[in-house]
C-alpha cells in the first residue's frame, strides 16, 4: 500500500463575482478526542520570490486540528523544518512523539502555484506518499484544503471534507432594521462571500447535489416562496408562489426533483416538484403539520417531521407504496431530520427536559444519542463524509454556528464577528 504516488490534483478555478461578507467566522475548538494523532506539518519551502499571501502549512494544520482526530505540533516545538522526506530526522520526531510529518514545497507557475507534499510515517520510517496540488494565484487556501483532504484520508481511511463549503443565513441590524444575507464560505468559515442580500427574511438554504445551485425560501414577494439560484452565474428562478407556506426545499439525491412543503390545501403537506416537467406531486394527506422533508440517499423514501401523533416526531415515507412509518419515539419533540450519507443515521433537533439539542439516531436499532449540551441547538447539516455536522446555536442572545462529530467526540464553534448567523448548509463534494 505504501508507494510513492505522484498525483496531480488540480483545483478548479471558482470565479466569484460575489461581494465579500464582512463577518469572518473564527474557529474555537471546545473539545477533541482523548488521544489525537500527533502530526507535524513543517513550514513549506517557497521557491518563488516574495512572500505568499497565505501560510499553506498553517492552514493544513488548522484543518487537521479542527477534525479533532489530530494534534498538530506547534512550529515552535519543531527541532527542524524539513522540506522533503530525505531531510526528516526520524529520531528527533520520535522523541517528540510525532507519528507523522508532512513536508512540502511550493513553486510558482505561470498562473498560480504547484504544491508538492509528502506524508512521512515516523514510526514506520516510510514515506506514505508524495502528491501534488496546483491552483490559481488566489487559490492557496484551496490548495491547502486539498492537501489536508489527502493527508486525512491517507491516515484515517475516510475521505477528507476540508475542501467543502457551507451556506448560511446572516442577519444584521442597521439602524434598527434587520437585513438578511445568504453567505457562502469555506467550511472553516474563511472567505465569506454574500450570495444575495434580502430586506425580508430568507431561510432554509439547501445545496443541490452537484454543488452548483442553492434552493431557499425568501419572503421578498410578501409571502414565503421557493427559489433556486445558480451559484456560479447568479441566475435564479422562483419555483413556487402558492397561497400559504412554500418551504423546506430539499433536492433529491439525483438532483432531478425538489421535495418541499406547501400549505395550499389548507395545512402543510409534503410535495415533490419534478424540475424537468414542472409537475407537482402531493405525497402526504393528513390534517396535521407535515414538514421538513429530507431524502434517503437511495432516493426511494423521505424522512419528515409530523405532529400527527400529537407532538412533532420523525416519520419515513416510502415513495413506491406511500406507506408512512414513525421512526422516533424518545422524547416529546424530534424534528428537522437529516440523513447521513450512508443512510444509516438520522440527525435531528431533539428536546429533552425543555432543552433543544442535536441528537443522532441509528435508524435500524432506534437508539438515540444526544450530541450537544447547549440549549437552543437547531438546523443540523451533515458533512458529505459523514464525520461531522454543523448546526446553529445561541451564545448569549447571539446566533452562532458550531460543529460536532457524529460520535460527539469533537466539538468546535465558529462565532460570527458581526450579526447573527444560522441555518448552516454543508456543501456536497464538488467533484
Amino acid at each position: 500500500m505504501i508507494k510513492n504516488l505522484l498525483k496531480l490534483v488540480s483545483v478548479l478555478v471558482v470565479a466569484s463575482l460575489s461581494l465579500s461578507a464582512r463577518a469572518q467566522l473564527v474557529v474555537d475548538i471546545t473539545s477533541g478526542i482523548d488521544d489525537p494523532t500527533p502530526i507535524a506539518v513543517a513550514p513549506f519551502a517557497f521557491t518563488g520570490t516574495g512572500v505568499l499571501s497565505e501560510d499553506v502549512s498553517d492552514i493544513i494544520s488548522a484543518d487537521l486540528r479542527r477534525s479533532g482526530l489530530f494534534a498538530p505540533v506547534p512550529k515552535e516545538d519543531m527541532l527542524s523544518f524539513p522540506k522533503a522526506p530525505d531531510e526528516v530526522i526520524f529520531r528527533d520526531w520520535r522523541i517528540l512523539g510525532t507519528e507523522y510529518v508532512v513536508t512540502g514545497r511550493i513553486e510558482p507557475q505561470a498562473s498560480g502555484y504547484l504544491l508538492t507534499f509528502d506524508l512521512v510515517n515516523i514510526f514506520g520510517r516510510q514515506t506514505m506518499f508524495t502528491k501534488q496540488v496546483s491552483g490559481g494565484s488566489r487559490q492557496l487556501r484551496d490548495i491547502a484544503h486539498r492537501a489536508a483532504d489527502e493527508i486525512y484520508e491517507a491516515i484515517t481511511g475516510i475521505r477528507g471534507a476540508f475542501s467543502t463549503e457551507m451556506i448560511y443565513v446572516q442577519e444584521e441590524r442597521r439602524g434598527g432594521r434587520p437585513s438578511y444575507s445568504l453567505v457562502r464560505s469555506d467550511i472553516d468559515g474563511a472567505r465569506p462571500k454574500v450570495i444575495r442580500r434580502f430586506s425580508e427574511p430568507v431561510m432554509s438554504p439547501m445545496w443541490s447535489p452537484d454543488g452548483q445551485e442553492v434552493a431557499y425560501v425568501s419572503f421578498e414577494t410578501g409571502r414565503p416562496a421557493i427559489f433556486r439560484e445558480n451559484l456560479r452565474t447568479g441566475a435564479r428562478q422562483q419555483l413556487t408562489n402558492f397561497k400559504g407556506i412554500n418551504s423546506s426545499p430539499t433536492w433529491s439525491p439525483d438532483g432531478s426533483k425538489l421535495a418541499m412543503v406547501l400549505s395550499k390545501d389548507g395545512n402543510p403537506e409534503i410535495y415533490v416538484l419534478d424540475l424537468r416537467s414542472g409537475k407537482f406531486t402531493r405525497l402526504t394527506r393528513h390534517f396535521s403539520i407535515d414538514t421538513e422533508p429530507n431524502w434517503m440517499p437511495d432516493g426511494k423514501s423521505l424522512v419528515f417531521t409530523s405532529d400527527r401523533g400529537g407532538k412533532p416526531q420523525i416519520y419515513q415515507l416510502t415513495l413506491a407504496t406511500g406507506q408512512v412509518d414513525r421512526l422516533t419515539f424518545d422524547g416529546d419533540y424530534n424534528a428537522r431530520p437529516r440523513v447521513s450519507p450512508d443512510g444509516k443515521t438520522l440527525v435531528m433537533v431533539h428536546r429533552s427536559r425543555g432543552v433543544f439539542t442535536i441528537a443522532t439516531m441509528d435508524i435500524v436499532s432506534g437508539r438515540m444519542r444526544v450530541l450537544t449540551e447547549t440549549r437552543l441547538d437547531e438546523s443540523p447539516s451533515i458533512a458529505p463524509n459523514g464525520a461531522m455536522l454543523m448546526y446553529a446555536t445561541k451564545r448569549g442572545d447571539k446566533g452562532i454556528l458550531a460543529a460536532v462529530s457524529l460520535d460527539a467526540g469533537v466539538k468546535y464553534r465558529l462565532p460570527s464577528r458581526s450579526g447573527d448567523v444560522r441555518e448552516p448548509a454543508w456543501s456536497p463534494y464538488f467533484d
Binding site: P178, P201, G244, I245, N267, R336, R351, L376
Partner: protein, 160 residues
C-alpha cells in the same frame, strides 16, 4: 405585495399599539408593525371607516399552541364587527417564538393565523378578504432568548 392595504388605517393600528399597551416592549412591537407597512403611497381614495377608537391588532398564544385564548375573544369580535361590512383586505401574520425548528414554526405560525381567520369568518367576515401569511420565528417582535420575549413573539398580527 398586498396592494390593497390601507396605509392610513395601518398607521392608526400602529398608534393603537403604541398608545394601548403598557408593557415595556411596546415600541419594538410598533416598529415591527411600521416595517410591515408598504411604503408606496395609496393611490385610491377609499373612505376611512368611521372607527372611533383604533383596535389593538395583536393576539398572543401559549407555547406550542394555536388555540385562541379566551381573553382574545372580545378583541377579535370587535375586529369582526368592523371588518364585516367593509371591503377591506386584511393580512393575518402568524408568528412563533424561537423555540423549536424553523420550518415547524412556520407551520405553527400559520396554524395560529388560521385560528384567527376561522374565528373572524365564524363572526361573518368574508374569508376572501383575509390573507394568512406565516413568518414563523423569522420576524420576532422582541429580540432575546427569555420567556418575556418569547411570549410576545407567539402572536398573530392583524394588518389592515
Amino acid at each position: 405585495m398586498f396592494k390593497s392595504v390601507k396605509t392610513g388605517l395601518g398607521l392608526a393600528c400602529v398608534l393603537a399599539v403604541m398608545a394601548g399597551c403598557s408593557s415595556t416592549d411596546t415600541d419594538d412591537t410598533a416598529q415591527q408593525q411600521m416595517v410591515e407597512q408598504p411604503t408606496e403611497p395609496v393611490v385610491d381614495t377609499a373612505p376611512e371607516p368611521e372607527t372611533a377608537v383604533p383596535l389593538d391588532n395583536v393576539v398572543y398564544f401559549d407555547f406550542d399552541e394555536s388555540l385562541l385564548k379566551p381573553e382574545t375573544r372580545e378583541l377579535l369580535i370587535a375586529h369582526a364587527d368592523r371588518l364585516r361590512d367593509s371591503a377591506q383586505n386584511v393580512r393575518l401574520e402568524g408568528h412563533a417564538d424561537e423555540l423549536g425548528t424553523r420550518e415547524y414554526n412556520l407551520a405553527l405560525g400559520e396554524r395560529r393565523a388560521n385560528a384567527v381567520r376561522d374565528f373572524l369568518v365564524l363572526q361573518g367576515v368574508d374569508a376572501a378578504s383575509l390573507e394568512v401569511i406565516s413568518y414563523g420565528e423569522e420576524r420576532p417582535a422582541v429580540p432575546g432568548s427569555n420567556e418575556s420575549a418569547r411570549a410576545q413573539n407567539r402572536r398573530v398580527v392583524i394588518v389592515k
